[in-house]
């Protein structure tokens, strides 16, 4: 069955039902099922080629172009548009690099995103001049379950993103399993600010509601970052019941919500923390802050998900308060819950160990990258690269494989140390790197702490506090504490610290100092 068969069927029977309340620039545009499907049909008529990237802002045509491409069998993929702080020329070059890999016959863009795709030299379909959708509703294509539905370009820097190829059957099986895990019912609705070019946004903010017939309340990611309360306004206004967002978003909302402002969030029956290691301290503060707004602690849950499995692999059960681990040293980890139907989990090696997964909705492979596929998918098991452990049948994800530091025979999680040092006065929050270098005798790793500092305190005091805090966190004294000017550590596109690149930069700095000395 086609992933949009149910959407098209509903567009025929209830054409005026709401597909999406699209909120942009303070205006709300309500799009009906018949409107979005007719527009998709118009786009489908002009396409017959495979592998069509779509570079559009959060707007109506983003949805219709994607649906239209799948109707035409054109294997669409959503790529990020330029954001305000990115260098346009560099971004266009990175996009051209990615397009060279996908090698598409054409690209769908808008007047606004045209400059991003122009340097690639690809044929462009301009969504702004594509004509109105007075067309009839398209027919439901009869396709094989194995047929490719779309490519998902999830992680990595722009130019090097791998295209996760997903079939119609895998997507529909995932949505069926996940709907059971979250207990989705008619009457649910999804509020989302997540960008659709990310797997979490695409699945939870578009495909799952489209398949299940739930209205979408769609916000723009950049607007949300600047005014996070937009999400709370939207949930209250539309009585939304479901919402997904990463761990950092919980912290960002806590930081930017005026303490004297209140919302009615009682409709929200599920707010899922996902796509980053889920942290109990943040979630508990969130629950406490919004308790007076009617947010039920049992609504705040977590999921472990990845594009290679369409989306969710686990889900903590709705209705109970967020659950932390009892394992010493890992009590800040939030449970991501048991596997959803159709999923098997294995942990390899001493815990926290490598998470391996098997399910009936895994990807077909990375688009035109058989070596990358073989590295991740072995004997039917997906090697996730994440580390975790299972406690009482529930998965706790603690970080990435490259996040683990082995010091004096002990495994330490870099991001936990970093989290623990972030609040030290003088340290710029979130701008700490903990890493290990091998001692000269190769015997063990040495723990290095590098922290960006502000100018509020004497550096010596900050360094002293850092050392003491590391000792308090893990019982080890760091080999070295390096204080850095703001902006020294390298950031990835998602705003996290790029570990390997930052370490390289630090080592170059050390060498330069040694040369100068």
């Amino acid at each position: 069955m086609h992933i949009f068969a149910a959407l098209l069927a509903r567009a025929h029977t209830t054409p005026d039902a709401v597909f999406c309340h699209l909120q942009r620039g303070g205006q709300t545009q309500t799009i009906t099922l018949s409107e979005i499907c007719a527009e998709a049909g118009t786009i489908a008529q002009s396409l017959r080629a495979a592998g069509v990237p779509i570079v559009l802002e959060t707007r109506r045509e983003l949805y219709s172009a994607f649906i239209g491409c799948t109707l035409a069998g054109a294997l669409p993929s959503l790529l990020p548009p330029l954001t305000t702080r990115q260098d346009p020329a560099l971004f266009a070059a990175a996009t051209a690099q990615l397009l060279a890999r996908i090698d598409p016959p054409c690209v769908i863009a808008s007047q606004q995103t045209m400059a991003t795709v122009a340097p690639s030299g690809r044929a462009v379909i301009n969504a702004d001049t594509h004509g109105d959708s007075a067309a009839d509703l398209p027919a439901i294509p009869d396709i094989d379950d194995q047929a490719g539905a779309f490519l998902q370009h999830s992680s990595g820097t722009t130019g090097l993103k791998k295209g996760v190829r997903l079939s119609h059957g895998a997507v529909l099986r995932q949505i069926s399993h996940y709907a059971a895990a979250i207990g989705a019912v008619p009457g649910d609705s999804v509020a989302s600010w997540l960008p659709l070019y990310h797997d979490m946004g695409l699945i939870t903010g578009f495909l799952l509601p489209s398949v299940l017939g739930l209205p979408i309340i769609s916000l723009d990611a950049q607007e949300w970052v600047a005014r996070p309360t937009l999400l709370l306004d939207a949930i209250a206004r539309h009585r939304a019941t479901l919402c997904w967002m990463p761990n950092f978003a919980f912290a960002h909302m806590l930081r930017t919500t005026p303490p004297d402002q209140d919302w009615d969030l009682a409709s929200l029956r599920l707010l899922v923390n996902c796509s980053e290691p889920c942290r109990m301290p943040v979630v508990e503060r969130f629950v406490a802050r919004f308790a007076a707004s009617g947010l039920s602690p049992g609504a705040v849950q977590a999921s472990y998900a990845m594009a290679e499995a369409v989306f969710a692999l686990t889900q903590s059960p709705p209705g109970r308060p967020p659950r932390g681990s009892h394992r010493p040293g890992f009590t800040a980890c939030q449970s991501s819950g048991p596997p959803i139907p159709g999923v098997e989990l294995r942990i390899i090696g001493p815990e926290p160990g490598d998470i391996l997964v098997r399910s009936d909705c895994l990807f077909d492979g990375y688009f035109r990258q058989p070596d990358a596929t073989a590295a991740r998918l072995r004997d039917g098991w997906l090697h996730t690269g994440d580390l975790g452990f299972i406690e009482d049948g529930e998965l706790f994800v603690v970080g990435r494989g490259d996040d683990v530091l082995t010091i004096n025979g002990r495994k330490l999680l870099a991001h936990e140390i970093e989290d623990g040092l972030s609040a030290i006065p003088g340290v710029v929050p979130g701008r700490v790197l903990a890493y290990a270098t091998l001692a000269n005798d190769g015997g063990t790793g040495r723990l290095i702490i590098a922290a960006e500092t502000d100018t509020t305190r004497p550096e010596r005091d900050t360094a002293t506090d850092l050392r003491r805090a590391v000792a308090g966190l893990c019982g080890l004294l760091p080999h070295q504490v390096t204080l850095l000017p703001r902006g020294f550590l390298v950031k990835s596109t998602s705003g996290k610290i790029a570990r390997a690149a930052s370490v390289t930069r630090l080592q170059q700095r050390q060498e330069n100092k040694a040369d100068a000395g």
């Binding site: 620039g25 303070g26 954001t83 305000t84 702080r85 950049q222 607007e223 970052v225 600047a226 005014r227 996070p228 937009l230 950092f248 960002h252 930081r255 930017t256 919500t257 005026p258 710029v428 502000d454 100018t455 509020t456 000017p485 703001r486 902006g487 950031k491 705003g495």
Partner: protein
């Protein structure tokens, strides 16, 4: 009026971004100040709106090319308020 807004706005930005010594003038852009990353937009917008008791349009505020343009947006909102 605008000079006063500019002075107060610079103080709000210094405080919100934790940059007490930053030199901020009308031509200053986000790239000139450490810590003015994309998440900082959210913190700044809230602090500015509370400090001046105004409501800014998100798209227009994000598109402001420098602090002077941001000050003009704030001043326009203040001017629009009934006395």
């Amino acid at each position: 009026m605008q000079v006063d807004v500019m002075t107060r706005l610079a103080a709000v930005i210094r405080e919100a971004l934790d940059q007490p010594d930053a030199t901020i003038g009308p031509a200053t852009t986000a790239d000139d100040i450490d810590g003015w990353d994309s998440l900082a937009h959210g913190v700044l917008l809230m602090r500015i709106e509370r400090a001046f008791a105004v409501r800014l349009d998100v798209d227009t505020a994000l598109a402001a090319e420098n602090v002077g343009a941001l000050a003009a947006l704030v001043a326009a909102q203040l001017g629009a308020e009934p006395v």
